[in-house]
Symmetry: C2
Subunit: 450 residues, 2 copies
């Protein structure tokens, strides 16, 4: 006998969980659609060469690799095999990997299908991704990303659309207390110049990315040790305050930053975005300490959190100017965001935000004997014809067992059929919440349950 068990970090989803997850994905999907995004899907497996080198060295180790079929040892790298070098052996025995996110597969998709695509291309994609990460709270080895991107335009209207999408998705889910933070890659570069750290951009972003964890004291010590002078540190401190994203914030930023091309771009683009959303009343934060995923982001950067949830980012995104370049399509700018379904689920569950899961099956037909069973089958067919989900209790058991089943399955109604009912062409309908019973004809039954 085998033990029924799952690989570490993976999960089954029961009907109850599935219905809640579908509430989230349906919400996100319907907002994406309202903003004119179209669905695509890509395969779970990509060529390993498509994935490696795109997520940094750590990312490469977190990729799940799929073993080649057949006699893979025969074509394996013999030197790596002899040296027991697992890492070096991989490319010769595993030519496929599971997708790590939806962004790289999307870039690959765009390049491969470029002749069929009308740009700007607005697509959404909601699929699982896999990472061999250590499982912990809010982190799974299989989890869903819900992405939307616009590719083929530099227009900042897209950034504005995404801010509105964030707002509508979170509001609809009951997470109206979300915090959306905005930054701009060029603002970070202008900060580096202003603080005399132009040549140490990575050291700067690595340090400020730790602000949450080590505090300002830690960040400033790190930067001083890396050679930033005291006046640079003081200037930086003024800039790292998270503030409301408004004209005042941009004016202050403009005042503090020394003149540079990067400053001009950042201020102009942020102003444009602000202009596009001003009439909506949506509030977000300008957070110059936000330095996520800088490797491919080149313009605006987004991150959304749910304050007090104890779970980090639930969504992020930004503009990238050359994501498709690696696959040979140059100079195509895009911008996108990604909602983490599993983290949103965890936050909503902890905050008790799910409405009670509704049992979509409206009625269970219970019966006393064979002829009542047949009578019930007939009625259930009529209900289904009218679009009402119904089940006939499948076995010949005592009526109280049938009611037990209805209770446990949360069916809102039970229709009981006995000799009297059949003789009179009716059913006895019991509302399981109120206990109220009534005799109804089929026509009335359909009316009642519709």
């Amino acid at each position: 006998m085998q033990k029924a068990a799952l690989p570490k970090g993976t999960r089954d989803f029961s009907p109850e969980v599935m219905k809640r997850r579908k509430f989230i994905t349906t919400t996100i999907e319907s907002v994406y659609k309202k903003f004119g995004f179209d669905p695509i899907e890509t395969p779970a497996m990509e060529k390993l060469s498509t994935l490696t080198g795109k997520y940094g060295d750590e990312g490469d180790t977190l990729l799940f690799k799929v073993l080649d079929s057949g006699d893979f040892l025969a074509k394996a790298d013999q030197e790596a095999l002899n040296n027991k070098d697992s890492n070096k052996l991989i490319p010769s025995v595993a030519s496929k990997g599971l997708r790590y996110d939806l962004t790289v597969p999307f870039a690959r998709y765009v390049v491969q299908n470029q002749t069929h695509i009308t740009f700007p291309f607005r697509r959404y994609q909601m699929q699982p991704v896999w990472r061999a990460d250590r499982p912990q709270k809010g982190r799974y080895r299989e989890f869903w990303q819900c992405d939307a991107d616009v590719i083929g335009t530099k227009s900042l209207l897209c950034e504005a659309d995404f801010i509105k999408i964030y707002h509508e998705v979170f509001s609809t889910l009951g997470l109206g207390n979300y915090e959306l933070r905005l930054n701009h890659r060029k603002a970070l570069e202008a900060i580096a110049k202003t603080c005399g750290f132009e040549g140490s951009f990575t050291a700067l972003t690595v340090a400020i990315d730790k602000l949450d964890k080590i505090g300002w004291e830690g960040v400033s010590n790190e930067l001083l040790s890396k050679g930033m002078d005291h006046s640079g540190v003081e200037t930086l401190k003024q800039l790292l305050n998270k503030v409301d994203f408004d004209q005042q914030a941009l004016d202050l930023l403009s005042k503090i930053l020394t003149d540079s091309k990067e400053k001009d771009i950042a201020i102009e683009e942020l102003s444009t975005v602000l202009g596009f959303i001003r009439s909506t009343g949506i509030r977000l934060k300008l957070d110059l300490s936000l330095a996520r995923g800088l490797d491919y982001y080149t313009g605006c950067i987004f991150e959304a959190t749910i304050p007090g949830s104890g779970i980090g980012s639930v969504s992020g995104g930004g503009r990238y100017d050359d994501l498709t370049g690696i696959f040979g399509l140059k100079d195509v700018s895009g911008v996108g965001i990604s909602f983490g379904l599993d983290r949103i689920y965890d936050v909503m569950l902890a905050a008790d935000l799910f409405k009670e899961v509704e049992q979509e099956t409206k009625v269970l037909f219970c019966h006393f004997d064979e002829s009542a069973l047949l009578y019930g089958i007939n009625l259930a067919d009529k209900l289904r014809e009218a679009g009402i989900a119904s089940v006939v209790y499948s076995d010949r058991k005592k009526i109280n067992k049938q009611f037990d089943y209805a209770h446990k399955c949360n069916f809102p109604y039970v229709a009981v059929i006995g000799d009297d009912e059949m003789a009179n062409g009716v059913v006895q309908l019991k509302n399981m919440a109120t206990g109220k019973q009534e005799k109804l004809t089929v026509t009335d039954l359909i009316e009642r349950l519709k």
Copy 2:
């Protein structure tokens, strides 16, 4: 530069294809729901030990195995490594595999979650599965199965429900010409007894399973060579005719089969199923040559095809009395079916059954200058608030370029905004199909597009 390419046998799905696929999955899902089935999902990866040995030796070679993370060679089976025995090495370097179907993961799910499940459990599950098969027409390495099962009851009402589900799904998809064939495992066993082949059941089913390929001549020769006598072959020939599933067919079957326990069970169960569906008028075939997946089926067996499509089975299923036994839960009977999304798609595409894909985004706002752009953004927000999907053309381009985009994207309407429109608080709405133009206020615009 890397070439943008996909692993063999896998596919991207464009928005056009996605919308058609969603039409199929939504249809199947809504029928499953109407019959009281609830959704579950299981992870893409299962423990390799959960999967191996469940699909026969060939199945084992077709499983995609996922390489263990880290220094997998250090813990590899050294003997297998030294002997370059790829097959023997697998369990020590790959402890996970991609699911091969949804049935074994479902059995694992039921056993693992048995204390939380109310039986009979009606579940549906629609997810991709992976097989390292040689890609060919109708056969992909990643494809979707849409399964429904009832587990925890022997009631033949479930079989009747599935027959109705087949009928409604195929009719709704426009595949009303489908052919559903039914057989019963016990009928096959009774046939073996009748034909004096009781001890060679596998030889019998292997032979008749080839009827389509090698014809009756081939089958009878094979059976004669395996030791069936001429009278047995003659009897068998009478039985293998595909006939309408009705009382007459059962009477004939009963007359031909010699008495046995298996015959009694088969006739009784088939009669019961017939009784449950009689009032529906649904037609199916009794096909005693249907011998699919006999390894775990123990009662009724189903297979659906679309005659003339050139593609084999698009759906199959049956009753299994001990699927969960391997994971330690004995004596739980279940019955289920599985629709193959990809094959149904291929059949429908070849038969030109997809309606034109509707562009869900109703309107593109086009603009002559910056202030018209802002005006359009505002209007688009109002439309979205009313639930109408709309896009503002994101770039400042000539109006004909904007119209080109609307054409290529199949937007049904274009709303043009110029100085006149802004001054009068209206938009110029053009119906792209008829060419008709009209000036509308926002309120009228919303009314028109709703």
